[in-house]
């Protein structure tokens, strides 16, 4: 496939640090879109602010680079006015779950047809390594020099409880599954959440003495396991990856169309 058909080459090499996992998400996403055979003109990518959110600038779809934490609010506006378009909403972990946490849970609840991708590097990369709601207890950050006492959210459990109808977790190491999961999420008619665990070697890696990005990628390999594996029973600390939820529920734009029709009849 020709990756170049989907990117804005004039902005390359991109701004991300050497080894930044956000680039691997971009790589996997391009392959998912190519495999789906979607036209670039039928895709709208909406992002907020963060290293992760810069992904929108590099992809040759319709793109909106909006404000921190509010990507989903903008995306919902686009989708409500043009339900025929495919909406992709990449977000950072801080973006999606600190400042954008409220938008996130309500978008899950409404089941509006779009794909939210949480590029989870467990840190505020762009602003210099502050801890995020996904950093987790005992991690180090510039704002937690003696270690973080906040517990982390589990994106999968949170999205499931909030009502998302497709919920999955992937990693930047497992690059054969990443495009497949993204493809299935985009295909799903309803609100899809895909958490992608990605390394930020510059801040999370350095602060937590994880070593090189190669070591961080290795940790994604050894620290995760497919859903329901035997390894998980033996070692409960392993993080599961795969598709956790996939169910049919009334979709928001379709329901709204029914309301419009009902109202028109009443006139």
């Amino acid at each position: 496939m020709a990756v170049r058909d989907y990117i804005r080459e004039r902005f390359f090499p991109h701004i991300w640090c050497p080894g930044c996992g956000h680039g691997i998400v971009l790589n996997g996403l391009v392959r998912a879109v190519d495999h789906l055979g979607l036209k670039k003109n039928d895709i709208v990518m909406v992002s907020g602010i963060g290293c992760s959110s810069r992904i929108a600038g590099y992809l040759d779809f319709h793109t909106l680079h909006t404000i921190h934490g509010r990507a989903l609010a903008f995306a919902i506006g686009v989708k409500m006015s043009r339900p025929d378009l495919t909406l992709l909403v990449p977000m950072g972990d801080g973006d999606a779950l600190s400042i954008g946490g409220n938008h996130f849970i309500h978008a899950c609840r409404r089941n509006i047809d779009m794909t939210a991708i949480v590029m989870n590097n467990r840190v505020y990369g762009m602003t210099g390594g502050q801890f995020s709601p996904l950093s987790g207890h005992g991690t180090m950050a510039t704002t937690a020099p003696y270690s973080n006492i906040d517990q982390e959210f589990d994106v999968v459990t949170l999205a499931t409880a909030a009502g998302a109808t497709f919920v999955a977790r992937a990693t930047a190491y497992h690059v054969q599954q990443l495009p497949d999961i993204l493809e299935e999420a985009i295909r799903h008619k309803g609100f899809s959440v895909v958490e992608v665990m990605t390394p930020c070697p510059t801040y999370f890696g350095r602060k937590n003495k994880e070593g090189s990005v190669v070591k961080m990628m290795d940790n994604l390999k050894t620290g995760t396991t497919p859903i329901g594996s035997k390894a998980k029973q033996e070692n409960p600390s392993l993080i599961e990856r795969g598709i956790f939820v996939k169910k049919e529920m009334p979709e928001y734009c379709a329901e709204y169309q029914k309301i419009i029709e009902r109202a028109m009849k009443g006139m």
Binding site: F12, W16, P18, V175, Q176, S212, V214, M217
Partner: protein, 69 residues
């Protein structure tokens, strides 16, 4: 499916940032970083065309072209 046969590794030296991900995780140890910290295919004859390097590169800097592509 027939075994894939390597044509060439297309490496974009302008884009490669020398992170070493492709080098380390290549199952056949085909790749190396040169003195400029850019990737080179040092042992192309060992390549099995799994394309893991291409899929894992955060910088879209390496492409594995096969005779079948």
């Amino acid at each position: 499916m027939a075994k894939l046969k390597l044509k060439t590794h297309v490496i974009n030296r302008e884009w490669c940032k020398g992170c070493g991900i492709c080098v380390h995780f290549c199952p056949k140890k085909v790749l190396e970083l040169d003195e400029f910290e850019k990737v080179v295919a040092a042992r192309p004859q060992d390549c099995i065309c799994c394309k893991l390097c291409e899929l894992r590169c955060p910088d879209l800097a390496i492409e594995v072209q096969t005779e079948q592509d």
